[in-house]
Amino acid sequence: MASQEMEQLVRREYKQGFVTDIESDTAPPGLNEDVIRFISAKKEEPQWMLDWRLAAFEQWKTMAEPDWAHVDFPQVDFQAVSYYSAPKSSEDRPKSLDEVDPKLLETYEKLGIPLHERAALAGVAMDMVFDSVSVTTTFKEQLGEAGVIFCSISEAIREYPDLIKQYLGSVVPVADNFYTALNSAVFSDGSFVFVPKGVTCPMELSTYFRINAENTGQFERTLIICEDNAQVSYLEGCTAPMRDENQLHAAVVELVALENADIKYSTVQNWYPGDEEGKGGIYNFVTKRGECRGDNSKISWTQVETGSAVTWKYPSCVLKGKNSVGEFYSVAVTNNMQQADTGTKMIHIGEGSRSTIISKGISAGRSDQSYRGLVKILPGAKGARNFTQCDSLLIGDQCGAHTFPYQEIGNSTAQVEHEATTSKIGEDQLFYCRQRGISEEDAVNMIVNGFCKDVFKELPMEFAVEAEALLNVSLEGAVG
């Protein structure tokens, strides 16, 4: 479609305020106001949301990509990227597992993913996946009874505009960085969670249950709000390998914890890392931040990062409330040509706020990995405490591990501890295990999982088991 026609189409439909039937399901490559109008119209958004996006776009145009991370990749041509493509219709998808790439199914098998989930993950048309549909329905009823809102962000924009207006961009400002401005302009979808006062969410919320809102990975936008005395545990991603035709990913996640609220956010990220030469892998530039606004509130990030060609990600906590608690538990694995610059920021504002950082980095192949962490304690954060431990494990002698800890301590009553180790997966450890009859592959898995134990124990049980299996698959062939 010629761009002129496209423009007309978008304009015309925008005038109508909503779109029911657009011929094209994909925006042409490039980013301009029209594309943003197109996305907003596709999502049937109100005017204020479009204005918000357009303002973000204006800001983005004045910004430059960050270049301080310890990663190296060819410049992204942002005008060559397509910023919207609708979910595939049922006809375009595989009708059953028989039509799915056997290699993908083999990996599901290794990861121990239940049969009925495999179909959904492989993109088999929804009406073929009865189990998931019924699960989702029961699940929604239970949440509704508890008063928890869990829906796509697009739905929330339409149904709960006041909450969105109040909270969206309140933790991660639009112009926080180049990628947040981009995301704010073009975000396609994501999750919205609202847990009202005094409610403990009756189940762990998983993006998996939102499978009908898939293909949102590219510019995902997630917002989770926990009111006073509320609690929620949210699981993002899954261990199954996620392939995507879109190379550029820039998600934004915002968490808000009010008084005594408790948010636990667990991620398993397994985007396509590219081939052994690193070709075709995903660029994952994510901004995740949680704000402990209320006293005694708590936000805990746990992440297992195994995918993507390039990762740039620092889930952070702003500890405003008195005695608020921030936690960051991370396992990052890089193999082959993967690069990751990841870590966290703990910003202590409230008196008596505490934070814990446990980071485990595993590098194999020719990959390169950095931990980058900031602990900032403001003058008002009397008695604040932080404990940081970051350990790196190297497999082979062609990979790299780096640590960039930053500390800014603004008062003398604060206590900050930092421990760091780098070790090579010992020939000695491997020899010892093998000399007990354990195969080399099992020995590597055993040693690596032992190394990550402190983080895995923070994951919800089921996730932890999957994460271990995932680690094993990710490091297949890393030794020997």
């Binding site: 450890q429 020899f431 010892y432 093998r434 009859g437 195969s439 099992d442 032992g450 134990k453």
Partner: protein, 250 residues
């Protein structure tokens, strides 16, 4: 059971073993002694399959099979187990987990199913008690923060559970106080069996007071230069190694 013939081994182009011969029959306990740098640890490392040693000549067979052609784990599964001089620490991996994985690897090799949890725990408790080890050992990371004595006890505990055909004990007595030495020795003695052979590499006569060998060999400059029965140890204790070396040179 184990037959080492004219074994020549180099490390970084330096020849360490220079035509070593050794025959171990089932049920026998052998001690290999010798001055520092004679090649004692090299011998056990090569038998177990550690990297970094180049075999330039000779052969090692275990129950008729060419050991040098086997992967490290296959040697272990076949029943050839090394007790380490310096057992390595593996953070985050529980002792009990390593034990179970090792035992199941052996059982798989023998065509047996994985051991049932209750049966395994019963076996482990029994052996722990024998080695005078607290059950908390099981839930500590492998060798992490263990004292020298605890590490060596742990090595023997693994032997008791894995029941090798040939136990190769490298300086199992180093770093042990007298109480720990007694416990470790009792463990080793309990392994003695008509079907099982034990080879101890040691510096000290002291160990041989507790574990009495059938045969003693003196290893010097890459070769076994003298073999004898247990009385040889006493003579070495009294007179040192020089006379043996001189005798061999003549």
């Amino acid at each position: 059971m184990l037959e080492v013939k004219d074994l020549r081994v180099s490390v970084e182009d330096k020849e360490i073993l220079k035509g070593l011969n050794l025959t171990i029959n089932p049920g026998e306990v052998h001690a290999i002694m010798g001055p520092n740098g004679a090649g004692k640890s090299t011998l056990s490392a090569v038998i177990a399959g550690r990297d970094g040693y180049e075999v330039t000549g000779g052969s090692i067979t275990f129950e008729g099979e060419d050991v040098l052609d086997m992967e490290i784990e296959d040697r272990a599964r076949a029943g050839l187990l090394l007790g380490f001089q310096y057992p390595v620490e593996i953070p985050g991996v529980k002792n009990v987990y390593l034990l179970k994985a090792a035992l199941n690897a052996k059982r798989e090799h023998l065509g047996l199913p994985e051991i049932e949890a209750p049966e395994f725990m019963k076996l482990v408790r029994e052996k722990l008690q024998f080695m005078k080890m607290d059950s908390s050992f099981l839930h500590r990371s492998v060798n992490e923060g263990f004292s020298g004595g605890e590490k060596k006890r742990n090595e023997i505990l693994q032997m008791l559970i894995l029941e090798p055909k040939l136990a190769l004990l490298d300086e199992i007595d180093s770093g042990l106080d007298i109480d720990a030495l007694k416990v470790v020795s009792e463990g080793v003695n309990s392994l003695r069996d008509a079907g099982r052979s034990i080879v101890m590499v040691t510096h000290y006569q002291r160990l041989l007071d507790y574990i009495v060998p059938d045969h003693i060999h003196v290893l010097s400059d890459g070769k076994i230069i003298k073999s004898g029965d247990k009385s040889l140890a006493l003579e070495l204790e009294k007179r040192g190694y020089d006379w043996v070396i001189e005798e061999a040179a003549q």
